[in-house]
């Protein structure tokens, strides 16, 4: 409990510094998801890429953009 309170306080104090980092990660994730939804086909099943993009931070979207997009379309 004490730890979480400290964490919340810490985040409040440093929000201005950390916010850009979070925003970039979220934008990256959303771009990857939009691209995934609009893609007709991907390398491997789509639901797998959704999970990768959502749950693997930063590396997930990058991996999708590099390896996930099929080049046939």
């Amino acid at each position: 409990m004490l730890l979480t309170q400290n964490a919340i306080q810490f985040i409040n104090e440093n929000l201005a510094i950390i916010a850009p980092l979070l925003i970039i990660q979220v934008v990256l994730m959303i771009t990857a998801l939009v691209s995934l939804i609009r893609a007709e086909a991907t390398n491997g099943p789509k639901w797998m890429w959704v999970l990768i993009i959502l749950f693997i931070n930063t590396i997930g979207p990058i991996a999708y953009f590099i390896f996930g997009r099929s080049h046939e379309s």
């Binding site: 950390i18 980092l21 970039i24 990660q25 979207p61 990058i62 953009f65 080049h71």
Partner: protein
């Protein structure tokens, strides 16, 4: 005219692949990760624990120039990897899938084809690097202290020469094989071998392209461009031209079937 058409086509393709969005974002992330973790290192150590009770040790705050160089060394590893990954299929993949045939069956010169692709990738990558290092500069300025913006710009410009060199190697390798994965492997191995050779024979090979990053810290601190750095950059530019020429020649001789 023709050159511009291919260049525009490449840029359009990058836009369709969302490359103009994700590559700059990823480079920003790479660049700001290190200044942030360095700044929060005491808190991170404290919260992960592992230090004995009452143990204190003072972490000296690194000078701003060092922190900025951390971003550049991050670029040297992860950034170069991303660059090699996004360029690995640019010609090799098109030759494999037959798109290159479709383009080159028309009266498109090999020179235009290769250099336009090269220029399109350079626009994307240089923009990304510039944005990333700008973000790094902002954070260093905010968290660590003053660092001259002009010096940062000069450093970025020289680093850009090195990055163009990396791109040219990848493009050159693209004409040698049709397998994108193999292009990646060749690009990274060549860079690694060059790195090792120029650090082993560092006194003999002061103009090696891979030595450019090692000249940057002093440039960032003093703003003075060393003679060796000028020659290294000049030598790198010559190498880039040779690599492009080599790529065009290989592509011609392979006479795409």
């Amino acid at each position: 005219m023709q050159w511009m058409t291919i260049y525009k086509k490449e840029c359009l393709e990058s836009a369709r692949n969302y490359k103009w969005v994700w590559v700059p974002l990823v480079f920003i992330l790479f660049c700001i990760m290190d200044p942030l973790t360095t700044y929060y290192l005491p808190q991170i150590l404290e919260s992960t624990g592992g230090l004995p009770e009452g143990a204190t040790f003072d972490m000296p705050t690194p000078p701003p120039a060092n922190v900025f160089m951390m971003s550049i060394s991050q670029m040297n590893t992860l950034g170069v990897l991303v660059i090699a990954l996004i360029t690995m299929g640019t010609i090799a993949g098109e030759r494999k899938s037959g798109v290159a045939e479709l383009i080159l069956v028309k009266p498109v010169s090999y020179t235009n084809y290769v250099t336009a692709k090269w220029a399109a990738h350079i626009s994307l990558v240089l923009l990304s690097i510039f944005v990333g290092l700008l973000a790094s500069w902002y954070y260093v300025q905010l968290l660590f202290g003053d660092i001259s913006f002009i010096y940062v710009l000069i450093t970025t410009a020289f680093y850009g020469v090195y990055i163009i060199f990396v791109l040219s190697i990848s493009l050159f390798m693209n004409t040698w094989t049709k397998v994108p994965g193999f292009v990646l492997f060749l690009t990274i191995s060549i860079l690694m071998i060059l790195n090792i050779i120029s650090s082993v024979f560092s006194h003999l090979l002061e103009w090696s392209p891979t030595k450019i990053p090692s000249y940057l810290p002093s440039l960032l601190r003093s703003g003075e461009v060393e003679t060796d750095l000028w020659f290294a950059s000049l030598f790198t530019i010559v190498t880039i031209v040779l690599l492009l020429f080599g790529a065009i020649q290989t592509l011609k001789r392979k006479e795409i079937v």
